[in-house]
Symmetry: C2
Subunit: 389 residues, 2 copies
């Protein structure tokens, strides 16, 4: 289903109103039954992740089984981050996921999908700016860009800073996410207002299969964690479909979880990207306080063609005329942060290095590409960068 | 009070035994009364920060007032990090603070002082290695080093990697912290075993006042947050006492909180260090998952004398013979991470830049030092490093 243009979410947005009214929550449902000695009952908020006025990710302690309950994402067992809730603004359920928006005490509005924090007003800059400008500043003059997911609009807002860009396709599966974000995250959903944006509501796998080969200069996968609806987005067939849709020398930026928590997942994704892309493949990371372990990683991949050196932006943001046109200054990204994002702690380097050593032994199983360079990973002692190019 | 040598904590260590036995906790005290629908009562752990088997920082929801209670450190209101508790190993109270050690499900053993996580087995490397090697790799051949705080021994362990070092003084106010860490954090407290270590148990302000002027090549302040016993350690008189104890060209590394949460505090500390040190002053940061917002910052300051360029290690860890002698490989720090630690996100740069602009106007109030360069902050567009040198 294609929604036609970026501005047509208003009818759906109207339907979502009224759900966030605190008054509608009384009398309190069982999910808000409070701990005996918590704060007064009247301060309780109405959601089963919110207890005594605090939202906690990713567990609900008040489910039917009276046990700690995980949502569909037990990716960080043994730890949880909590945010104090001022007011629940919205809760609803789409065909794909549960959506919660609340106003927090110190991080502004918070978007939660299936119990997992996706973004907050305070720290969204770190994620949105990095996931966008790491790929787009690494190629000389991006023209056609695709966003997979990204229904909040933040990545669109960041792409719009690049005046070389001619078309911005976005394929988001969940119309409700778009509508809810237009209502509660205007500083992100402003990204939909750019006239270059074409919104496609539907499954990204189908969308990419139907895209012309070699269409895009850059594809940015801005999805939720790879369990649930986003699982297919880290698997090999999808990555191959992405590679097919990229121009020669085109780039992919895909989410790649936390270096502190998910090395095995990063290794799997590196393996797939390493096999699929014939250009360079790199892991980068940044600080995002409300994500588990306080960091999020990215896999930057280039298709064979004009070589891409992700480590040194050839299209530095400081020189892009459109960079501050979007009405808001950059808050996190700059060219130095770009370079620093690829520098890895020793334990990460070691874990990914040993992975690559193992992977290299299975290299013979793959058909040789005459154009591609050796895919063996290199650790350069002096610049300490992990690279597959 | 001086404890004589690094090995004499055994008597005190013996006294602490037995307190961590889970069996001694039954029947459950009121602090462990559970939420109605939490996990079974038998899984409860005995500490007022531990509810339904989870430790939560920095609030207790089960205090006498039935309200959210902060310890003495309300430095990150509105958010909390929780760790699942396998077993409480120790709880006690020294004249200075409350001490809790527990075994977590996924971060190993955890040290908590006054309700605040100080370190975990899993991520201590990021903090201990950075706070130590950022200063020691920035000067050619450190000989005399002082640690303020650091009773867990981790910084000592890291200093010991530097074979140029001849003496390592440590001034920790709380003997109980030392004893507890010897019991439950052997991989950190092994730092006390190095024959170069001299332990002084007492107040660091007194200790430094009695130190010869110009004694140390480097001083590392490894304290708790600057509220409570550690408050004096970020104030001007103490920083001046530190500067006095440093050799010309000597360096200080002081904790400087989170760039996401405590910009005002960082500004205050920058101001004090900027006024006190006549060499370079820099802010650096690193990722530590169990610290609030997932990051911790450092202030690196050099006394006038031989110029110190913190940004490029002149004493790179990769070339230090003793770097792997301590029996354990580095897990986090390397020379590239050193350089990247000084790269700041745009919002941090902006907030500290505007601070420096204001601060520069009060520059005239200070007596001029003929040796010192201009103290005005510079933002270099190309390398984006904030510097006061």
């Amino acid at each position: 289903m294609e929604a036609g243009d970026a501005g047509n979410g208003s009818a759906a947005a109207a339907q979502i109103k009224g759900n966030g009214d605190d008054a509608s929550c009384k009398p309190l449902p069982p999910c808000c039954i409070k701990a005996k000695a918590g704060v007064p009952e009247s301060e309780a908020k109405c959601h089963d992740t919110v207890v005594s006025g605090w939202f906690t990710e990713p567990r609900s302690r008040f489910g039917k089984t009276s046990k700690v309950q995980y949502y569909n994402n037990p990716m960080w067992p043994g730890e949880a981050h909590s945010l104090k809730v001022e007011k629940i603004l919205y809760q609803g359920k789409s065909p794909y996921q549960e959506i919660l928006v609340f106003e927090s005490s110190t991080y502004g509005n918070v978007l939660v999908l299936d119990g997992i924090v996706q973004l907050t007003d305070k720290d969204e800059c770190a994620y949105q700016e990095m996931v966008t400008h790491l790929p787009l500043c690494s190629i000389p003059s991006p023209k056609n860009v695709l966003v997979v997911g990204g229904g909040d609009g933040g990545v669109l807002r960041e792409i719009a800073r690049h005046d070389s860009v001619e078309t911005i396709d976005i394929c988001e599966i969940d119309q409700l996410v778009i509508d809810v974000c237009k209502e509660f995250f205007p500083n992100l959903s402003m990204g939909f207002k750019d006239p270059r944006v074409r919104l496609h509501v539907g499954d990204a796998v189908d969308f990419l299969r139907n895209s012309p080969e070699g269409k895009y200069d850059a594809i940015i996968v801005d999805s939720s964690d790879p369990i649930g609806p986003a699982q297919a987005l880290v698997e090999k067939p999808f990555i191959q479909t992405i590679a097919r849709a990229l121009k020669p020398g085109g780039v992919l930026c895909n989410l790649a979880e936390s270096m502190w928590l998910h090395t095995h997942l990063i290794q799997d994704m590196l393996s797939i990207c390493h096999q699929t892309f014939k250009g360079s493949v790199h892991y980068a990371w940044t600080s995002v306080p409300t994500y588990p372990s306080g960091v999020i990683g990215f896999l930057l991949c280039a298709k064979e063609g004009r070589p891409v050196n992700f480590l040194t932006p050839v299209n530095p943001i400081e020189k892009i005329q459109g960079a501050t046109k979007a009405g808001k200054e950059l808050r996190f990204y700059n060219s130095e942060i770009h370079r620093a994002a690829f520098v890895l702690p020793t334990f990460v380097r070691r874990e990914l290095e040993s992975y690559y050593t193992t992977s290299a032994s299975t290299e013979k199983e793959k058909p040789k590409e005459s154009v591609s360079k050796s895919q063996k990973i290199k650790i350069l002692p002096n610049n300490a960068i992990l690279t597959a190019s």
